[in-house]
């Protein structure tokens, strides 16, 4: 098994190192790093804007580039957290706790250096996990019939909505809303137009880019206009020479890095728990097992190394269920899955065998991309720090331009721009009512496939709902669903005790923006 994996990986490097693909991979990580640094821009909005521009491209470079944006943004997000104390990227919110005190002590460069090492370690492990686990999962998944696929999707949807931040009930409501939005358009089997209200443009369904940019672009800008704190750049002075950590720092962060990596890769495997949860969990664990927990929050280097390693290993591991089963774990993965579908690639267990170039090319590009990011971040740190000073009042109008033209370019249709605006306003209302938009996208992407498989499995069983319980694998997935719901009810009943600890950490991190909270 190892030898086949190495042969496949070798092939993947061949794909990823083609000059054309390499260029787009570089472009992706560069753009990702850039938006990661900029406070107020997220990978979801960026990937949605770039998506229409990839329509004319081959699928391989397109996917390499879009994925590069996602993990590239993680490198940039840490800079923002450590130097400015701005938790604008949820997975890195927890890094602020110890990163910013370090910056204040003049050790911001060391923190960044450790972050880059931790990121590389975490990512490497996540990628290795993907190399060995994804093909194994595929073997299992090839046995799946429509009933199993259906139950598995149910697990993904439920986990994605209940494990995200905020009220689980509201999360589930958003998932259902997403499923309903996914229904808009012509029915697959009968061609009957549904929820189109006579608007011809809606017959093909709601555009995924319009949904993502409305929810994560326009709604977000409406929320943060005149509401952003001025950026404090006093401490943000870092040069390359500051970035090399001392031996002692390295020694101190070695084990936290390993522990964070393992925790992160575990979190990646559970659908619905992405990098944000991974980083919070690993920080809490590290603090608990530390001999000197009182140092945490006052500039402990372990408090930077552990969550960062965890985030990056989780980010790479996130690709496993998406690529092998076709079930995305969070918003960004849902978007990437949408991108695959747009490029005419059917996600699911058959992806690895049918599109080996995409799968193995993607894995190889992760290695290349992460190395590129390390190279980008060390010498160019001065440039990234300068970018931090771009004020929000210039950022959001520019982003609005990209939103408008990106949506227009998807179909060369002004109707889509209006659709995005409409969704954006609705999204803002939902935000004000404490609904988090992430599960909508998840429901939207999975919705049509869920309905198709649900119909098919009941057609096979002649309308017998018991088919979902009689088939053992499907029953197992349903059992997980029951466990998830029971756990939520249990937590809700014993709210004060269990949540207190989690909230203690969250209270320390100042109000995190709501975007991509499921991530």
């Amino acid at each position: 098994m190892i030898s086949t994996a190495i042969t496949d990986l070798y092939y993947g490097f061949g794909v990823a190192l083609e000059p054309h693909n390499l260029m787009y991979c570089f472009l992706g990580v560069l753009v990702g790093n850039l938006v990661g640094v900029l406070p107020g821009m997220g990978p979801v909005a960026t990937i949605s804007i770039l998506l229409p521009l990839t329509f004319g491209m081959q699928p391989v470079p397109a996917i390499l580039m879009l994925s590069g944006v996602y993990y590239g943004a993680q490198y940039g997000g840490a800079i923002c957290s450590i130097l400015l104390n701005l938790p604008c990227h949820p997975p890195h919110a927890v890094t602020c706790l110890d990163g910013f005190p370090l910056t204040k002590q003049g050790k911001g460069g060391t923190a960044l250096g450790i972050t880059i090492i931790a990121a590389f370690v975490g990512a490497s492990f996540g990628i290795t996990e993907m190399i060995f686990l994804a093909p194994f999962l595929v073997k299992v998944a090839l046995e799946f019939g429509p009933a199993e696929v259906c139950s598995l999707m149910l697990v993904g949807l439920l986990a994605g909505s209940t494990l995200a931040k905020g009220s689980p009930l509201k999360g589930i409501a958003m998932t259902v809303l997403g499923l309903l939005v996914g229904i808009v358009g012509s029915d697959i089997e009968t061609g009957q137009p549904r929820f189109t209200f006579g608007i011809t443009e809606l017959f093909d369904g709601v555009e995924i880019i319009a949904l993502a940019l409305g929810m994560f672009g326009i709604a977000e800008f409406m929320n943060s206009i005149n509401n952003t704190e001025s950026v404090d750049l006093r401490y943000a002075k870092v040069g390359i020479s500051d970035m090399f950590p001392s031996k002692e720092d390295l020694k101190k962060s070695f084990w936290p890095m390993i522990r964070g990596t393992l925790l992160g890769s575990l979190c990646a495997l559970i659908p619905g728990t992405g990098p944000t949860i991974a980083s919070f969990v690993s920080y809490a664990t590290e603090k608990k097992i530390s001999k000197t927990p009182e140092r945490f929050g006052h500039g402990a280097i372990e408090g930077v190394a552990c969550p960062e390693a965890s985030t990056h290993s989780s980010v790479q591991g996130d690709f496993i269920p998406t690529m092998s089963l076709g079930i995305p774990g969070d918003t960004v993965m849902a978007l990437l899955l949408g991108a695959l579908i747009i490029h005419g690639i059917v996600p699911g267990p058959q992806l690895i065998s049918q599109h080996a170039d995409i799968f193995w090319g993607l894995i190889a590009s992760f290695w290349i991309g992460n190395i590129l990011l390390v190279i980008l971040n060390v010498p160019m740190i001065g440039l990234w720090v300068k970018l931090l000073s771009i004020p929000y009042r210039y950022l959001y109008p520019s982003a609005m331009f990209f939103v408008c033209i990106g949506v227009y370019a998807a179909n060369n249709d002004m109707f889509q721009v209006g659709e995005t605006l409409f969704i954006g306003v609705i999204g803002y209302i939902l935000l004000r009512l404490d609904f988090h938009p992430a599960p909508i996208l998840l429901g939207f992407v999975l919705g049509p496939r869920f309905e198709e498989n649900f119909r098919r499995s009941l057609l096979i069983s002649r309308g017998d709902l018991l088919t979902f319980v009689e088939r053992p694998i499907s029953a197992f997935f349903l059992f997980i669903c029951v466990v998830l719901i029971t756990a939520q009810i249990y937590v809700w009943l014993r709210k004060p005790k269990i949540i207190a600890e989690e909230q203690a950490i969250e209270a320390q991190v100042r109000t995190t923006p709501y975007s991509e909270l499921a991530g």
């Binding site: 409501a173 309903l180 005149n226 009042r393 331009f401 605006l421």
Partner: protein, 157 residues
């Protein structure tokens, strides 16, 4: 329980979900429902609509049951009506001017109006930003990516 009934935000939240759910279910009954073995196009909309409506009731119900004060208002503390208007106005102008004017006026107007929404923005700073983005946008999208969007309708640019 008599006397002060405080309106909580979750009542609105639940109510909105109830409304959307009932709306979806009612619209869904207009399509063929079918049977479990042979589902029609109306099956999923109705089922999901009912589920969403129930979730709405649950959300409002748990808010009713909890004693926690929810003093957060629906509107933020300092509502940014002008800012919101600008953010909505930008894309609206983009649509109108894009349809009848072309890419240059559409992009300029969109960025200009959006930028005005910030409290510290002036006409001058917004215009400079808009001009810069327009030049950049034309270079990137028209010349480099060549998306089919005439720079100025009526002129052969």
């Amino acid at each position: 329980m008599r006397g002060k009934i405080t309106v909580k935000r979750d009542y609105y939240a639940g109510g909105l979900m109830l409304l959307l759910g009932v709306g979806a279910a009612v619209t869904g009954t207009g399509y063929k429902f079918g049977s479990l073995a042979r589902m029609g196009p109306g099956f999923m909309p109705v089922v999901l609509g009912v589920v969403l409506a129930l979730l709405g009731l649950l959300i409002a119900g748990t808010a009713l049951g909890s004693s926690e004060p929810d003093d957060k208002k629906f509107l933020p503390d300092n509502p940014q009506w002008f800012g919101w208007l600008c953010i909505i106005g930008g894309p609206v102008l983009f649509i109108i001017l894009g349809q009848y004017g072309g890419m240059i006026p559409a992009v300029f107007a969109c960025v200009f109006v959006c930028a005005l929404g910030d409290n510290t923005a002036t006409y001058k700073s917004s215009a400079i930003l808009a001009a810069g983005i327009t030049v950049f946008g034309v270079l990137l999208f028209h010349y480099l990516l060549s998306i089919p969007f005439p720079l100025l309708r009526g002129f052969n640019l």
